[in-house]
Structures are given as C-alpha cells and as structure tokens.
Amino acid sequence: MRPANEAAVRADGLAAGYGGEAVLHDVSFAVEPGRSACVLGPNGGGKTTLFRVLLGELRPAAGRFRVAGRPAYVAQTERTRLDFPITALDVALMGALAGGRWWLPPRRDERAGAREALERVGLGDEAGVRFGELSGGQRQRALLARALVQDARVLLLDEPLSGVDPASAALIGDVFEELRAGGGTLLVSSHDVESARGFDLVLCLNRRQLAFGPPAEVLDRATLQATYGREMIVLEDAGPARAVTVQHHEHAHGEHDEA
C-alpha cells in the first residue's frame, strides 16, 4: 500500500532535450492527489517538453520521474487533425481505448460514458458534429471529454485555455474543480500569469525550473522576471506582483495576456 499523501506526479532533477543540448533541466517537484498545478512559462520554455517526458513519449536526459497510473493528455487543438472525418463523440470515445480491447468496436456502456463526458463539458448537442467544424473552445472541450472518458488519476493539459471563448473557459474551469474534488491531479500549462493564481501550485519554467510552490509565494516580481525576461512588463502600482506578458504567437488569440 502506498501512503495516502504520496505524490501523484513527482520529478527529481529531471532534464530533457531533443538529440543535442537539453532544452529543460533541474526540474524537481511533487503534486499530491486532488491538487492542481499550473506549469507557467513563456513559449519555448519547456512546458510541452516536460509533458512529453511525463507521458513517456520523451526519455529524460537526466533525473527521474513518477506518475500515478497512465496520465490522460489534452493536446493543444492545433496539434490535432482538423481534416480527419470524425465527430466529437468519436473523439471522446478514443479515451475508452485506455480500457484495452482496442480491436473491438466500443461497447454500449463505453458509448454511454462518452456521451456523458460530452454532456459534462457542455457538448451533449454537438456529439454528432465533425470535430473540424467545432469552434476552438468546443474542440478543446471535446479533447477534455476524451480525457474524462479515459478516467485517469493524472491529467496533463497543454494550454487548454489559450484562444478559448469565455463560456468554454468557464466550463473547463468547472470540470477542473470537479476532477480535483474527486481526487484527480491536474497539471495545466499556461503562459498566462493571471490564470496561474487559481491553482494550488505553480511551477515556473524557462528552460529550467525557477520556482515551485503556492501562487502567493511563487508569483513575485523576481520570479516572474526570471521566468519571462523581456517578455514581461510588471505593473508597479498594483499590490501583489501583477504582470502583463507579451507573447509572440502566430495566431491572433492570446496575443496579449492581460493582468
């Protein structure tokens, strides 16, 4: 038996890269079950690399990590195939592959579970709509439904709120709360400083770990400046460190993340 307070996700001195030099190093943190952590950092800071290591897709160059069970993953929607002819229900049903039996069509209860997951993310009426025809926020919610069907204890979400409409963001936030209350562990990457304040823990990354802890302790001016460098403007007159980060995105959404 594991002790109840054992970390659901733990990393010790983790480093990772692609072939040559490590793009991320000195990462050590632990997140207990039922807690949420925001992985904060600029684009190219190593957030996705960390997730690829935790998913087992990328072998760490150094250090160790442990994830309780197989984590579910919610990709950035632009990393999915929009021209692939499948519906929102088909996407949610992909989570059922975690139950094995991949060679058989989904069972009736798996279909019911996928519909229920779509209802939870507010896509009950869109089950039969092609994924590529959904809005950005709806696509993100369909991917979240797939993670719900997978029923994993650890969820890794890559920028789930980037470029999402406010209604979708609120729905996604509600699901996060439900998952946390149910003992789930969430790792959510973001480049938005203000969104990080709503999490139990914040992990600041910019090619290495700069800070890890509760947002009130971590989100100070020095850490944010170390994390974002010249991409950040600190608003001097505000109480706790408040910041505006300037991101260099190709797409229109999330061009400026305002504090």
């Binding site: 692939f84 002819p85 499948i86 592959l97 991949w102 025809e133 997978q150």
Partner: protein, 291 residues
C-alpha cells in the same frame, strides 16, 4: 449488324483471361482502395512508392534461389517496411531523407543481385506487371489479402483513427503509435507484394493512392472513405479492362489511367461542391461558436 450495349460490356467476361484479370483487380482493388485512405491520411504515399522499389532484393533473391516470387516479394517488402519504419523515425534527419537513404540502399542491393549472370528474366514482369497473366496462385493470394488484410484493418480501426487524429493523445490512452504505424506499413508491404504479382510496381501505387484522392473529403467517416475507396478501385479496374478489351490497349496501363482519371475527377469536382457547402454554412448562423 448492331452491338447490344449489354453485350458490349459483358464481352470481356466471355474471355477466361479477362475474367481472371477482372477478378484479380476486384480483389486487389477492394483492399488497396480501402488501405489507401490510411496511406494518404498518414502521408505514406512516398513510403508506398519506396516500398514497391524496396522489395526488389527479395524478388531477385527468390528468383535466384528458384523459390516462389510471391514469397520473395512478401519477404522483400516486409524487410523493406521494417527498414523504412526505422529510418523514418530519426527526428534529426526527417522521415523523407531517412526513407530515401534506406530505399536507395535496397535498390542498390537488388541491382547488384540482378546483374548476376543467372539473373531472372521475369524481373521486368514483376516491375511492370500484366493483369491478363495472373495465375491461380496470384488469385488465391489476392483473395487472402482481401480477407486477412480487411480483417486487420477492421481490428486496427480504432487505434488507426486515434493515432491519425492525435498521436500524443492516443499514446496517453495506451495506444502505441509506432506499433500502429508499423502494422500499417506491414499491411502496405503485403498489399504491394501481392498486387505487384499481377499489376506491377508502378500500377500498385495508382491503386493505393488514386482511390482516396478520388473520394477526397466526400466521406463522412473513415470507414465510409475506406469503402468508397475500395469501390472506386474496383470500378476503375472494370473500366480499365473494358477499355483494354475493346481498344486493344495494355491492360495494366488502362487500369492505371482509369484510376488516375477517377482521382483527377474527384480532386476537381469537390471544389465546387465544397464552395457551395461553405456558402450555405456562412448564410446560416448555425452552431458555429465564436472562439
């Protein structure tokens, strides 16, 4: 003298040779047309072309050893598939370059062996094919390909969809994308090896790539796209044999041209249909969100 339209169409069936060619093309076309959806979706058209060249050493070794050429083709294609899958995995040089290096090595090896004094004379038959010359063994192999390959595609359907849609998310759900892609390459190798006996390496590519292009984005589901692709390939096979029978043209080339014509029609037609559909969608506010 008048020619009944039905007689005109049925005439090739009265010839045993053409009947066998039609059966071979129907069996091979039904499977390859369906498999083609995944070949195009996973951007494996280049790999398919490489495989058809890469099985050369297997063919030549079988011919030199006096073994079954079909067996040689299958063995050569499987070895080539494994090598290409390994070469394409190297992220530093990219899949195209890795494939190019691997296939050049295989062709070089095949050429080296083919230049032996006792080199097989039937080699050009295998490279260019002749659907009118298929044997009972070829027909049996094509039937086995359709049954076993079709079963494999059905069993792999969910992992194939998950990997094509989002490989990282599929891996998180327990699917092994590398294994799924290797399975797809093995099916591709089997299809090329079997089809190459009757159709030749060049025509094989047409029967794999032209049907999904003809179907385009017209299908609502992956399964629908696969069935439509299989149907297009069978139909093009029939049209090709009819043309070959009545016009006296080379059967393999006629089928290839019929396939490419179907692809050209499919690629050209949906432009208008898609534009009309987009227009209709814009006209009604519908369910599209704002984000």
């Amino acid at each position: 003298m008048t020619v009944e339209p039905l007689d005109f169409l049925v005439d090739p069936l009265r010839s045993g040779i053409d009947r066998r060619a039609l059966l071979e093309l129907a069996l091979v076309g039904a499977f390859c047309g369906a498999l083609g959806f995944w070949v195009v979706t996973e951007r494996l058209a280049y790999a398919a072309e490489s495989l058809s060249h890469g099985l050369l050493p297997g063919l030549v070794i079988a011919a030199l050893a006096g073994a079954s050429l079909l067996l040689g083709a299958v063995g050569g294609a499987l070895v080539a598939a494994a090598l290409l899958a390994l070469a394409a995995r190297d992220e530093r040089i990219g899949p195209d370059t890795g494939t190019a290096v691997a296939v050049t090595g295989l062709v070089g090896l095949g050429a080296l062996l083919a230049l032996e004094p006792e080199a097989p004379q039937r080699l050009d038959e295998l490279l260019f094919g002749d659907p009118l010359g298929v044997s009972d063994g070829d027909l049996l192999a094509a039937a086995a390909l359709l049954v076993a390959g079709g079963g494999a595609l059905a069993a792999l359907h969910r992992p194939l969809c998950a990997v094509a849609f989002d490989p990282t998310g599929a891996a998180a759900a327990g699917v092994r994308p590398t294994l799924v892609r290797i399975a797809l390459l093995v099916l591709l190798a089997a299809a090329i090896a079997v089809a190459a006996r009757g159709l030749g390496a060049l025509l094989v590519l047409a029967v794999l790539v032209a049907p999904p292009v003809a179907v385009g984005r017209g299908a609502r589901t992956p399964a629908g796209a696969m069935f439509a692709g299989g149907a297009v390939a069978v139909l093009a096979g029939v049209v090709g044999i009819e043309v070959s029978f009545h016009a006296g043209t080379a059967a393999g080339a006629s089928v290839a041209l019929a396939l490419c014509l179907a692809a050209a029609l499919g690629a050209a037609l949906p432009i208008r249909i898609r534009a009309a559909a987009d227009g209709a969608r814009r006209a009604s506010p519908g369910r599209r969100g704002t984000a």
